[in-house]
Amino acid sequence: MPAWADAVLVPLISILLAALISAGVILAIGENPITAFMAMVDGALMKSTGWGYTLYYATNFIFTGLAVAVAFHARLFNIGGEGQAMVGGLGVALVCLYIPFPHWSLSLIFTIAAAGLFGAAWALIPAYLQAKRGSHIVITTIMFNFIAAALLNYVLVNMLKPAGAMEPATAAFPATTHLPTFFDMFASDGNPLFRGSPANVSFFIAVAACVLVWLLIWRTKLGYEIRAFGQSETAAEYAGISPVKITVVAMLISGALAGLMALNTTQGEAERLVLNASEGAGFIGIAVALMGRSHPVGVFLAALLFGFLYQGGAELAFWANIPRELVDVIQALVILFTGALDNMVRMPLEKAFLYFRKEAR
């Protein structure tokens, strides 16, 4: 099978299959799937505000998708994106609350560092346990998600909550740390683009992260070692690549990327730290990385698709007579087909290609 078919055709057919079954489910509850689909497209893609939401969600998924992808290259399954993003948010909040900044651009440099460091720190312990003790990274990162949630709860309720406030959240960040939204950047008096939507400058940080991850994985010797270790641990040892070092470093990078998601949600949108700021994006990142074949371009496209599903799904629940939960069903089907049932599409496609090549000869 040619590479383009593997990269493009397989996910495309998977999405179509997921869409078909989703249509069946919508039919089954007595609604019109075409109307529903149009409502999703209309809400997510036809207006600049819709795009503003779609890109906002996509930004989250790019960060968490890249996080999972980098770990995948070292054959590590980082399920802890959720927790790492939460702790990254804590880093962002501390920087924004306690360091006075003259301008948002300066604050952004510091919050990038803080989000990355806090996220990486949260990945360090599972990474160390995996590398040194062989504790399975899937188990430990899942557990660390719960610990992160508990930690955040404690910190917010007991330490960072402003006196007298009823909600477990920090005070609002100072105005000089507010990131410019797409509305601030692109709207003009005559043309109010992206009005009311949360997409902000961190989308461009996410795009830059895609480029940097691509350079890291395919152009540097560290990336070379990460991929080599992921493909064959015995070969890595033969070459003198330390499994401990690669496991820890890959997880640190992965955790830092997940932590960066907080730029978008905490600094960019909420402008304060709330409970559950990660909104489940850490888990969606797994599906995004799977669908994007752990390649930054694939992750970017998959993140856009899931951004569309999130925003379109919200619109669907708003406009059509369809329960909110059905949106989860649709998203689950997309994850199921693109992630878990990959071979169901790939195998027949491979056979078809072989057959047609034979016919052509």
């Binding site: 152009r219 010797k221 070379y224 064959s232 015995t234 070969a235 040892e237 033969y238 090549r357």
Partner: protein, 514 residues
């Protein structure tokens, strides 16, 4: 002997995708003969036998057994037609007894006891007839490899096979075990059984077969009477050109010791001591061959010297000691000390199979500052250098962008060899240099090893192929159970003596040399 062939294949063809594995193959095997099938890796021998045994369905062609056309759709049909197969990798249940393995799949009725006692009787009879002695109550995991193979043969005979196919049966045996196997096969032949022996070893073909068929690139190039051919002719038929079977080398110009090993001990992760005090030295300009049946510590010796297994003892390179356990005991430090390593297992160690050929040409040397450009690797330069190496070592196809897994065994080995030799090391560790490598490439690889020796490098060669050890080495050390059993000069020893040492028998060896 009747005129009806025991097996007749007519025009068998089989393709896997674009690869034509078997092309219009016809073959006649007369009953009561041993028929050899020889060919390089990937010539289609195993595919042909898999078709005969019902694992694959041929695209075209017919199978005739004892004059009747058979439609062999699965292994049950093959067994019913009287065909038994002994695979290269045994299909035995490790924690079952011999008897239990023999009746597995051939039980009569729901209760085991009657089948077991019937099998016990049959096994006793077979053991007497064919020298096939195995304790029927022994667990497979406690048997030597040679005995396990006998169980495989017994399994086939218990199913009343008249035709026995053996796929590379001697690859895992000591020379003595191989001789015993051949005696068994002779006995089976006398009883009128028909035997097909698949091998890549010319010596075995010459020793035991009556007729031999040569396969090359999916085609049957010739079928000849063994008595009317020679190893040279067979090799030429296999490769398609004249091949030098002997290694052509001048006497070694030996210099000072480069690699000195003293009392080296290694215990693996299961707590089993694999190296029990190895002392060796390799001098400049010589090839030290380590002979031994696989699994006697040779792999661990290479791993320790290559830097990825801890050990105690002393190892000196050019007179100065190297770190065997600490921070400087890894593949990178070893390379920095001038130790290059062509590992035994190129699929899991020497190469990253999904990596392109050019990425593999720097594997292990990828941190070399000369191939970095700022923070990035200088991929364009690496690719250009890879192209040059592939041209020099005649790697086919000479395409550096192809993934390593898409090259044949011989060409993969050339990629590894090019990478290690072109770094101009002082010491080359090389394990099983020609395992899974075709004859044409073997010649080339042997020449490269000798060329490196003649440049004054120290070479430590590990191989389970005794022929290879005998023809390449300037000195031979035999390993058994983590010990060095002795050292010999190739001119002063022979396969029998080395075979005894490989089996851990020193008394007779001592007597012979005394």
């Amino acid at each position: 002997m009747s005129d009806t062939p025991a097996i007749e294949l007519k025009g068998i063809s089989k393709a896997f995708g674009p690869v034509q594995a078997n092309k219009d193959i016809s073959i006649r095997v007369m009953p009561g003969t041993i028929h050899g099938i020889i060919g390089e890796n990937g010539a289609g021998k195993s595919t042909l036998m898999s078709i005969l045994y019902g694992f694959y369905k041929a695209d075209a062609g017919e199978i005739w057994i004892n004059g009747a056309r058979k439609d062999i759709t699965d292994s049950q049909a093959a067994i019913a037609a009287g065909i038994g197969m002994v695979f290269q990798h045994f299909k035995l249940v490790q924690n079952f007894t011999v008897l239990e393995n023999v009746i597995l799949g051939a039980e009569d009725g729901p209760m085991l006891r009657p089948s077991l006692s019937k099998a016990r009787g049959v096994l006793k009879k077979l053991a007497q007839e064919y020298e096939l002695n195995v304790d029927p109550e022994a667990l497979i995991e406690n048997l030597s490899v040679g005995h396990q193979q006998r169980v495989e043969i017994l399994k086939a005979l218990y199913r009343e096979a008249d035709i026995l196919i053996l796929d590379e049966p001697t690859g895992v045996l000591t020379p003595a075990e191989a001789d015993h196997l051949f005696r068994i096969l002779e006995g089976l032949k006398r009883e009128g059984k028909t035997i097909i022996l698949i091998t890549h070893k010319l010596r075995e073909i010459m020793e035991i077969t009556d007729t031999v068929s040569v396969m090359r690139r999916g085609e049957m190039t010739a079928t000849v009477k063994t008595s009317e051919t020679s190893p040279e002719e067979l090799a030429e038929l296999m490769v398609g050109r004249k091949v030098l079977l002997r290694v052509d080398k001048a006497p070694a110009q030996v210099g000072a010791p480069i690699l000195e090993i003293e009392n080296l001990k290694h215990t693996d992760s299961h707590g089993v001591q694999r190296l029990k005090g190895i002392s060796l030295n390799v001098r400049a300009g010589e090839i030290l061959g380590i002979a031994g049946v696989s699994g006697n510590g040779q792999t661990e010796l290479l791993h320790v010297l290559g830097g990825y297994a801890d050990a105690t003892g002393t190892v000196r390179v050019n007179g100065s000691e190297i770190d065997l356990t600490g921070k400087h005991s890894d593949g990178q430090s070893r390379r920095a000390r001038g130790i290059a390593h062509v590992p035994e297992d190129r699929h899991h160690e020497g190469l990253i199979l999904p990596y392109t050929a050019w990425e593999n040409t720097v594997f292990g040397y990828h941190r070399d500052p000369a191939i970095q450009k700022g923070p990035l690797m200088d991929n364009a330069a690496i690719r250009a250098e890879a192209q040059a190496k592939m041209d020099r070592y005649d790697v086919r196809p000479p395409n550096p962008n192809l993934a390593a897994r898409n090259f044949s065994g011989g060409n993969q080995q050339k990629i590894v060899l090019a990478r290690e030799i072109e770094r101009d090391p002082d010491i080359l560790l090389i394990g099983q240099p020609t395992r899974g490598v075709d004859i044409g490439a073997i010649e080339f690889i042997h020449q490269e090893i000798v060329r490196l020796r003649d440049k004054g490098k120290a070479i430590l060669l590990v191989s389970v192929e005794l022929d290879e050890i005998m023809s390449l080495s300037d000195r031979i050390a035999v390993m058994f159970d983590g010990h060095i059993m002795g050292e010999r000069l190739p001119a002063d020893t022979n396969q029998t003596e080395l075979g005894l040492l490989m089996a851990g028998i020193t008394d007779t060896a001592k007597a012979a040399t005394a």
